[in-house]
């Protein structure tokens, strides 16, 4: 039995209503426990946290860190790898490469170095699940999992068109079990299939998907309701149609309205909140006020932001036509992928510039979202790493949210028209440390249905981050004083002290075994691999943890 006591820290644990109270935290065998009743109790190790800010470990609920698209991006950007700060080998840790798409081991170290202890890859095609698990195995320290793309899956669309909700339910459960995935993800539902079959796209949720006789609306509602029936811990995770296009706010609003009666999570909502004419980038603007008002008044919805930051980065998406669009806009190199009956993929390097009207507006629109959603429990911090920026930019985003002056300084360096086309300059709100703890820990844990994460109450994972208060907020969050994972001090003063492996989180929803015959018959007609080779075996999982369905 190993124990750790963190004494005298200023604790921010919003899930348990603790907002800056001084207290102790006890961790025994990796889990937080009640402080022992006897006054002279001692722990194997004590951290003196006097004067330090104590929060649960950070949770990134939407990033791209594993699987073939991430690996392809790594190979695609030697020019960035060459100039990025190298990650050197130490006695405990492996070497790696940095930049916008760090190598696997480096990804784990960098997340831990920021005080993040959990991260979810947001877009894995089922066929790539094995690869994703293999890369996650090489992503140390953090706990992790991934969402399985099913918004353009042929079997899903066929069952929706045929009015077979039972088969759909069995398939989604079977697919999650086969991939050892965590949640159901929709990426441009229907649109990727149209792109793959003929180079087009869908432009609204009531257009019909060629050859399948279903609409994005049917896919969204069908999967949302099925996920709910299966009792998955996380609701359907939606990347809406028309990402990045001026004027896409209408599609986003339609998608939100279509979710009435269901729970749903809209991801990287920043990319879906644009005003303007789709054929004319110069008409670009913000429609956050009306979209955020809708979110504020509809408790069935949660969002994460997908903040854009000014830097070199790499766009990687399951939204194949979006990759092509970005390639056309930027003129940069482009990778396109087509995963059999399941999904697509597009990868394009991109530079977000403060001097660009569109890019500066994207930056401002992301901040508008953080500042205009009233209830921080329904908005999570994300950059859609690496699409809007690297996860390494989180401390900078925190400083922008907590300091209005800093936002205005950046805005002053952007084209003047930015202020006319969004409301950022009028937003006075500044986040408190408690609200930061919500959007980076407590809220994502709650959205993901992770009862044992995102808080510091008894039973929670012993994942704790301790920061030294600093007037420079960015520096405070960039360099945590200590990071504790499962009760072990992993980072001490920016040094990695232990190389642990982290757990794989997944779900095992039940399904009717008789439904597998139909899946198998379809599979054997259409896939390039053998049916029995498709499910990911248990031996691919590292220290797995099944998160229960309700």
């Amino acid at each position: 039995m190993s124990s750790l006591r963190i004494t005298g820290g200023t604790i921010y644990d919003p899930a348990n209503g603790i907002d800056g109270d001084v207290g102790d935290i006890w961790i025994v065998d990796g889990r937080i426990v009640e402080a022992p009743a006897e006054p002279d109790a001692s722990a194997d190790r004590t951290l003196d946290a006097t004067g330090l800010v104590v929060m649960p470990g950070g949770i990134d609920m939407h990033c791209h860190i594993a699987g073939p698209k991430v690996n392809t991006a790594r190979k695609m950007i030697p020019e960035e790898k060459r100039t990025a700060e190298p990650v050197r080998r130490t006695r405990l840790t492996r070497s790696g490469s940095g930049g916008s798409v760090p190598s696997t081991f480096a990804t784990g170290y960098l997340y831990a170095g920021l005080g993040y202890t959990t991260a979810f890859d947001a877009a894995v095609p089922p066929l790539a699940a094995r690869h994703a698990h293999e890369e996650l195995e090489d992503t140390p320290i953090i706990d992790k999992g991934f969402y399985v793309m099913m918004g353009n899956n042929h079997y899903v669309m066929k069952q929706l068109a045929a009015g077979e909700p039972g088969r759909l339910k069995a398939y989604i459960a079977w697919l999650l079990q086969s991939t050892k995935g965590y949640a159901a993800k929709l990426v441009n539902p229907g649109g990727v299939e149209v792109w793959k079959s003929g180079g087009g796209n869908v432009h609204g949720i009531d257009e019909t998907v060629d050859h399948f006789n279903v609409t994005p609306r049917q896919i969204i509602q069908g999967v949302a309701s099925t996920v709910q029936e299966l009792g998955l811990p996380h609701p359907v995770h939606i990347h809406c149609n028309n990402l990045g296009l001026p004027g896409n706010h209408a599609t986003t609003m339609d998608t939100m309205k279509s979710l009435e009666g269901y729970r749903g999570h809209l991801t990287h909502i920043q990319f879906h909140s644009y005003d303007g004419d789709p054929d004319d980038q110069s008409t670009f603007g913000s429609r956050v006020p009306e979209l955020s008002e809708y979110v504020n008044s509809h408790e069935n919805l949660t969002v994460d932001v997908g903040q854009v930051m000014f830097a070199n980065t790499t766009s990687m998406t399951g939204d194949g036509p979006l990759g092509y669009y970005l390639h056309q806009v930027t003129g940069r190199k482009w990778f396109s992928g087509d995963t059999e009956m399941e999904a697509g993929c597009g990868i394009v390097p991109i530079v977000y510039k403060q001097k660009s009207l569109v890019h500066a507006l994207q930056w401002a629109i992301g901040l508008e979202w953080y500042l205009m959603v009233d209830d921080p429990w329904r908005i999570a911090m994300s950059t859609d790493h690496p699409n809007g920026g690297s996860f390494q930019a989180y401390p900078e985003i925190i400083s922008l949210l907590m300091d209005r002056e800093r936002r205005l300084e950046v805005l002053a360096g952007a084209p003047a028209a930015v202020s006319d086309r969004c409301t950022l300059k009028d937003l006075d709100r500044e986040y408190s440390l408690n609200e930061i703890a919500i959007i980076t820990r407590a809220a994502p844990a709650r959205m993901l249905g992770l009862a044992h994460k995102g808080h510091l109450g008894p039973g929670a994972d012993g994942d704790v981050t301790l920061y030294s208060p600093d007037d420079d907020i960015q520096r405070m969050f960039e360099l945590p004083r200590y990071v504790v994972s499962r009760g072990e001090v992993i980072v001490d003063d920016a040094q990695i002290m232990r190389d642990t492996r982290g757990r794989t989180l997944y779900v095992e929803p039940e399904y009717d075994p008789d439904a597998v015959d139909d899946i198998q018959a379809w599979f054997e007609k259409t896939y390039s691999i053998q049916f029995r080779n498709y499910p990911v075996g248990d031996h691919y999982l590292q220290d797995p943890l099944v998160v229960p369905t309700s």
Binding site: M76, I77, P78, E79, E80, R82, R332, K333
Partner: protein, 274 residues
Amino acid sequence: MPLRLRLRNDSPVPIEVDTVRLPTVREQTADQVLATEVLHGNVRETLGEFFDAEGSASDDNTLVWEGDCRRIKRIAERLSDGQVRVEGTAGMHLGAEMTGGNVVVDGDATDWVGAEMKGGRIHVRGGVGHQLGAVYRGGHRGMTGGEILVDGDAGNEVGHSMRRGLIAVGGRMGDLSGVNLIAGTIVVGGEPGIRHGAGMKRGTIAFLDPQSAPDVLPTFRGAGNCRPTFLRFYLKHLTEQGWPVPDGALDALYRRYNGDFLELGKGELLVRSE
């Protein structure tokens, strides 16, 4: 008197000397210079393991590398000011990413001379390898300024994705010179290879040898004959620099081709026709 580094121990394993930088070594004694850490394969060693040093760069800001340095990589990389001379052969990445100053090589150099160079001048009296003034793999912009003069031959992909500047190759030219050229000028004195200017947007590739006109890609279009005034200025400048301008090139008639029409099509090939 310059600082002179004489190669003593010719290891078959390449040595990377990007850590030997003029602004630093000109403030140092010869012994301090020899203590500079260099990469020998994947092992860190000191420059003194391989070189002898004499003199100092403190007065004339000049560094001389002496000997067969074909396995000494990254000489004068990121040079910003001063003179670097190689008395012998230079290894890969000579003057890569340099922003100013002068590099002169008495003998030959190898691949990646002046890769992604931003300013300054490199003059190689002998020949060079591939990717002269080119972009590194994956990047989208090669040389963005300065001059590279080669008296002898050059290999493939000269000026790959070059954005600005001048490259002159006196001898034979390999294939695909000016591939993906964004802008800038490439001058070829000798016999050219194939597929020049493939993917070029703007810029000029001039072929000065009337005996060996290159095959022009089908995505270029003939655009008449001319005697370009700017080329006369360039060639006079090259003559002043001691680069071997072929006889009669100044006043010759050039056939002009526009391309590459798979891209912007604002580039030109000038092929000497008399």
